[in-house]
């Protein structure tokens, strides 16, 4: 069996990659995709801890995270469609109405 620390390290690595994606990308759709990467990193950590601690509560929470991720993707992409229809652009550098 692989020690669970390896799974936790993999989860941390994917989390940081998703965070770098959110910081670095300029396309708003790519930022949303990086968020999915971060949610998946959390899922791996939940399931790995479950196996270590002999429990299944983490898997129940992964189930809820999957639900929330579906809702988040639907709402986020609906917002992106609305933004695109108004501004004709998906570049975060150009969507700066709220900047003071």
């Amino acid at each position: 069996m692989v020690p669970y620390e390896y799974y936790v390290a993999l989860s941390g690595l994917l989390m940081v990659l998703g965070l770098i994606g959110v910081i670095v990308r300029k396309n708003i759709i790519a930022m949303l995709i990086s968020t999915e990467l971060m949610l998946n990193a959390v899922n791996i950590a939940f399931v790995a801890f479950d196996m270590k601690l002999h429990d299944v509560v983490g898997q129940v929470f992964v189930f809820f995270i999957l639900t929330i991720a579906a809702a988040e993707a639907a709402i986020g992409l609906g917002l992106i469609m609305a933004i695109y229809r108004m501004k004709k652009d998906v570049d975060v550098e150009k969507l700066t109405e709220l900047k003071g």
Binding site: M1, V2, Y6, Y7, V8, L10, S11, G12, L13, L14, M15, V16, L17, G18, L19, I20, I23, V24, R25, K26, N27, I29, A30, I33, S34, E36, L37, N40, N43, I44, V47, D50, M51, K52, L53, H54, D55, V56, V57, Q59, V62, F63, F64, L66, I68, A69, A70, A71, E72, A74, I75, L77, G78, L79, I80, M81, A82, Y84, R85, M86
Partner: protein, 177 residues
Amino acid sequence: MELSVVAFWVLSAIAVISAIGVVFFKNIVYSVLSLISTLIAISGLFFNLGAELIGALQILIYAVAIVVFYVLVISTVPQYKGEAVDPKYALLSAPFGFILFLELAYVSVYGLWASNTGIFSPDIFKEISNAKAVATLLFTKYLFPFEVASLILLVAMIGAILLGKKDIVEDEKEGGA
């Protein structure tokens, strides 16, 4: 070398390489294809850990349903012409990301020893399946959150329909002008 060890290394290598692709591909369609590869590798890791129900749901919900959302929106929005990555943030985020990774790994590995262990030892999983254990907990102790999750999906569906409707945006544009 045990089979599960080989599976872990192969699947995690696929997951990390594809995740790097998700972050750094210029073309957004390649990013989404990389995301599918990552999600399927993560699903394989769930199977490797013995969580069959979550692994199957991962493929069903993430790798099919959510990715179809993204592909639909990408096909509607024309191809993005600007540069993919902001160079001034790219240099800055690498060291901070590394420090954050070390901290996350440290905290999760050493924080675990403070937790209590549950009752679902590997011997119990020989008698009842993983799906039965998860579903039993889901429909007894976590029944109310389960119902609230269905409400969230309904609200998200109504919200997405309202946001995606054409009329509202056009009305706002006429009012603003």
